[in-house]
Amino acid sequence: MGLTVFAFEASPPCRGVFITLKALGLEYELKQIDTKAGDTRTPEYLEKNPQHTVPLLEDGDLYLAESRAISTYLVNKYAPDSDLYPKDPEARALVDSRLFFDVGLNTALLHILKPLKYDGDIARSDAAIPALLDLINIFEAMLAKSEYAAGDHVTLADLAIVANVSTAEAMGLDLSGVPKVRAWLDKIKQLPCYEANVQGVTQLGVMYKEGSTALRAKAQ
């Protein structure tokens, strides 16, 4: 067989895929990608993924980008009866809906992280925080109706969303107003597959805290 994942650990969508692979008990080879060093811009990589993004899954002749499409593919192909991505149209649709919601979460997170990483623009980074917290508030409202992100048991939606929400926590953002989200986060952290998230989220949290602190000090 032989699955290969091109990724770097700090990236939330990459972690979403790592968590899913671990939950499914699938072995894979990790090819470490350094985007700043230009690893995603080589002709070889662009041939596999013209979008030059991570994560990228290689499975035989298939090269698949988009973390959530990778996760759903892994279940469809290797664990089609798994509860992580139920077959019932309604249950599946709810998982899909939350996976698209997660795209919004990640985009909001990037609006905070990118200005910091690439432009040293702390003002623009800080200004983007309320929009992420707004989405986390909406997730709180969703959790009022179901124990997990997409129903009464763990699904791919939880595994994807936790990569982003755990990042918000690691960054030190204010989650005091969302008790259901915090309780949900604690539950997901108990899952064995969550182990695949730990190193990367810690890394990203530290990078954000150090970077933002330094820039705010400079701005004074």
């Binding site: 013209p50 979008q51 298939l62 698949l64 980008a65 988009e66 959530r68 499409a69 990778i70 759903t72 593919y73 469809n76 192909k77 089609p80 149209p89 309604e90 599946r92 649709a93 709810l94 899909d96 809906s97 996976l99 698209f100 919601f101 795209v103 990640n106 985009t107 909406i138 409202a141 969703m142 009022a144 109706k145």
Partner: protein, 220 residues
């Protein structure tokens, strides 16, 4: 009973959901919400969808939002033939990747071109966002290639999602679509062959274009 679709004609994702419904030949009760008047923020709608976004689909007791999850749900549940959302894991994965590309890359960057002007009082289209939108169209050219459709050699929900996004982009006039001949030919094919296109998408796309151009023309 039947399907209720909460809708607004100018909204690209809402039109994508409606167009798919028409493509499947399903009956639907279209419930237009006045977003500019804040109708989506009223209690009864927030009770249905705490994220208060459109499109939102109500199918009996089942509520689902996120246009692309709505589309895949409807094919999973009601599609008489599965080619619109193939069941083979690899074919489906490619459709899913295109759907996430639509949300996270093409529609996202197009939004960054137009929404700051419509809602934010910006005076001109952001250069960086425009560059990324053009890049996304170049990738879309590659995805279609000589196969004629975005995810293979037959129509899928990805064509409907991306087709509506591109039609809205075209209506806005922020760039010249003829620079993308493969995309242009594909869009034209969708316009002339999809049942219900003239009804479900054309007027709304045009209305969006008019609204955007008026916003751009406002000097103060």
């Amino acid at each position: 009973m039947g399907l209720d679709l909460y809708f607004m004609d100018k909204s690209s994702p809402a039109r994508a959901a409606l167009l798919l419904i028409k493509t499947l030949g399903l009956d639907v009760n279209v419930k237009s919400l006045d977003l500019f008047g804040g109708e989506h923020l009223q209690e009864d709608f927030v009770a249905i969808n705490p994220q208060h976004t459109i499109p939102t689909l109500v199918d009996g007791k089942f509520v689902i939002w996120e246009s692309r999850a709505i589309m895949t749900y409807l094919v999973n549940k009601y599609g008489k033939d599965t080619s619109l959302y193939p069941t083979d894991p690899e074919e489906r994965a490619v459709v899913d990747q295109r759907l996430y590309f639509d949300m996270g890359t093409l529609y996202d960057n197009f939004g960054k071109c137009v929404y700051p002007i419509i809602f934010g009082g910006a005076k001109e289209v952001d250069e960086a966002a425009l560059t990324k939108t053009k890049q996304a169209l170049t990738w879309l050219e590659g995805f279609i290639g000589d196969r004629g459709f975005v995810a293979g050699s037959s129509l899928t929900v990805a064509d409907i999602a991306l087709g509506v996004t591109v039609s809205t982009l075209e209506a806005s006039g922020i760039l010249d679509l003829s620079a993308y001949p493969v995309v242009s030919a594909w869009l034209n094919k969708l316009k002339t062959t999809l049942p219900g296109y003239a009804e479900a998408n054309q007027p709304g796309a045009e209305a969006f274009g008019v609204m955007f151009k008026e916003a751009l023309a406002r000097k103060s």
